[in-house]
Amino acid sequence: MQTKLKILVCIKQVPDTNASLCLNNGMPEYDEKTVYVINRYDEYALEEALQLKDRGLTSYIHTISVGPGRVQKALRRSLEMGADEAFHIQTQDDGLNTPHVIAQTITQFAQHAYDIIFTGVMSEDAMNQQTGQLIAAMLGYNHATGVTELSLINNTITITRELDAQESLMYNLPIPCVISVQSSIQKPRYPSLSNVLRARKQEIAIIKPDLAIPFAQTKCYFTMPQKTTQCQFIEGSISQKVTELYAILHKNAVL
C-alpha cells in the first residue's frame, strides 16, 4: 500500500522579472514599487506536490521560505494554491545569502521529517541552481534536478530529467529524496476560492533562524553586464528603422 507522504516545498520570493533595478555601490537595489512574487520554478515545484495531494498520496504539504517579512506574501500564496501549512524563517534579507547558507537553514528546519523535499530548479534572480542539491547532500539523500515529470507507484518515485531539446533521463529515486523541478507544460494552478478563504484565516509560523549558521553573504560586487558585441542601434522613426534593417538583412544575403 502507498504510504502517505510528508512533503516540504521550498519557496523563494523574488522581484518580478520586469522590476527596475539599479546599482548602489556595486550592489543591486530595487525601488520601493517593486512587486515580489513566488519564484516561477518554485511554483512548478509546488504544483508537482499538489498533484500528489490531488491523488490522495500526501499526508501534508508544508512550504518554507527564508527571508524578510515580505516573503509571507509568497507563503500566503502557497497556502492559497493548496499547501497545508507554511513556515517563515525570518532573516534580514535573502537576496545575497549564499545557497549554502539557505540550504543549511532549510536542512536545519527539515531535519529528517519529510519524505520529499521539493525546490524549483533555480531562482529567477540569483540563478545559482544549487539549493536542492545542497540540501540533499547535507541530509545524505538522493536527489534529481531539472525534473519535468514525476510518477509515484507503490512507494517508488520515477522522475524524468530534461537534459536538452533532444534528450531526457529517467530513473527511480528512493524515499526520502530532494527533487528540483524544471518549468514545463504543466501549468501551476490558480488558487481556488475555497483555498483563498481558508488561507486567509491561516497562521504562518514564524521561526527565528539558527544563530549557529553564519548568515554569510557572497563577497562580490555587481556591474551592468559586459557587452560581448558592439550593438549598433538602428535609430530614427519606425519607417526609417524598417528601411535600415531591410538593408542590413539584404547585405547579409538573407533577404
Partner: protein, 317 residues
C-alpha cells in the same frame, strides 16, 4: 595543489564543450603554476581521447547507465582529495549541474555556478550573469578549494595537440550496484528545422499570446530557409513545442542570422545563440540584456515594427 576539470556528458559521449572549460582551467593553471587533471566520470563515454602530456586524465570506471548523483559525488570527492584539487571546474549543463554543487558539501568548499568569464590578471575573479542577465556578479576568489561551473560557449576550446594515452589512470569501482540503472530517452529528432535554417526568428514572453505568434511566423516567412523558435517560457506556455526551444535546456543554434523578438536575453537563452553569425534584437526595452550580445538592435514594439517591416518587404520586392 592542482586543478581538476570534470568532463560533461552529451549523447553518451564526452561533451566537446569540455574543451572550453579546459581552456578556462588552463588560464588558472598558468597563473598559479598548478598541474591540471581531467576527470572523465564514466568509463563508457569514450573519454580516452581526452589525454595529453599537458595534463593528466583519470577515468572513473562507472557506467553512465548507472548514473545517480549521490554515488558520483562519493567517488569524485575521493578523486578531488587524492589530487589535492584547489579548483574544481565543471560545465554548466543540466547534466553536470545535477551533482557538481553537491560536491561542495562533501569537500567543504564554496561553489559558484553559471560563470561566463574569468579574469586572472591580478586576483582570480569569476563573473556570472545574475538577475535574469540584467547584471553581472563578480566574485573574487579568496578561498580554496572552490568549485566552479562555466556556461558552454564562454571560452574557445582547448586544442589537444599530442594524444598521450599513457597519461590515463583508470579508477576501478568494485562495489557496483546492479539494481541501479537509468534510461536515456531521445526525443523525436526528425525536426531539424533549426539546424538547417539560415534565419531563425526567436519569440520571447513579450509576444503575449499564442495568437500573436502568427506575426512571428509571417515575419519568418519573408526569409527563404527560415524557422521560428522561442525562449523557454514560450514553450512552457505551450505556444511552441520544446523542440523549438533555444537555450541551455533546449537547442544551441548557428544560423546566418538570428532575430530575437521581444526576448529579454537571460544567460540561459544567450548560451544557446552564441553560434549565430549575426544577432539582431527587436525589443521595446532599451536596457534588455539581449542587446549586450547583439550586433544590431532595434528599440521598438514588435507589434508596431514587424507589421510595417512585412509591408515594406512585400511592397518593395
Amino acid at each position: 595543489m592542482s586543478i581538476l576539470v570534470i568532463a560533461d556528458v552529451k549523447n553518451h559521449t564526452v561533451n566537446p564543450s569540455t574543451l572550453e572549460i579546459l581552456s578556462a582551467a588552463n588560464e588558472i593553471a598558468k597563473k598559479n603554476n598548478m598541474p591540471m587533471y581531467i576527470l572523465i566520470p564514466f568509463g563508457n563515454i569514450g573519454g580516452d581521447s581526452y589525454c595529453s602530456n599537458e595534463f593528466k586524465t583519470c577515468i572513473l570506471d562507472l557506467d553512465i547507465e548507472q548514473y545517480r548523483a549521490l554515488n558520483l559525488v562519493k567517488y569524485i570527492s575521493t578523486v578531488i582529495r587524492e589530487v589535492n584539487a584547489s579548483y574544481i571546474i565543471g560545465l554548466h549543463t543540466p547534466f553536470s549541474i545535477d551533482y557538481i554543487p553537491a560536491l561542495s558539501v562533501e569537500i567543504n568548499a564554496q561553489c559558484v555556478t553559471q560563470i561566463h568569464s574569468l579574469d586572472v590578471s591580478e586576483y582570480i575573479t569569476v563573473t556570472r550573469g545574475s538577475h535574469a542577465g540584467k547584471l553581472d556578479q563578480h566574485i573574487v576568489i579568496n578561498e580554496t578549494p572552490i568549485i566552479l561551473t562555466i556556461l558552454p560557449g564562454s571560452f574557445a576550446p582547448y586544442t589537444i595537440t599530442d594524444v598521450q594515452t599513457k597519461e590515463i589512470t583508470t579508477i576501478h569501482i568494485h562495489e557496483k550496484d546492479k539494481h541501479v540503472y537509468c534510461k536515456f530517452i531521445t526525443k523525436d529528432s526528425k525536426d531539424t528545422s533549426l539546424d538547417e535554417a539560415d534565419v531563425i526568428v526567436g519569440a520571447g514572453k513579450g509576444i503575449g499570446s499564442r495568437e500573436n505568434l502568427n506575426l512571428i511566423f509571417e515575419f519568418a516567412k519573408l526569409f527563404p530557409h527560415s524557422a521560428v523558435a522561442g525562449s523557454r517560457i514560450v514553450c512552457d506556455y505551450g505556444w511552441l513545442p520544446y523542440s523549438k526551444q533555444i537555450g541551455i535546456t533546449g537547442k544551441s543554434i548557428a544560423p546566418k542570422v538570428y532575430i530575437a523578438c521581444a526576448i529579454s536575453g537571460s544567460s540561459q537563452h544567450v548560451a544557446g545563440i552564441k553560434g549565430a553569425k549575426t544577432i539582431i534584437a527587436i525589443n521595446k526595452d532599451p536596457y534588455a540584456p539581449i542587446f549586450n550580445v547583439s550586433h544590431y538592435g532595434v528599440v521598438a514594439d514588435i507589434f508596431e515594427f514587424i507589421p510595417q517591416f512585412i509591408d515594406f518587404v512585400q511592397n518593395n520586392t
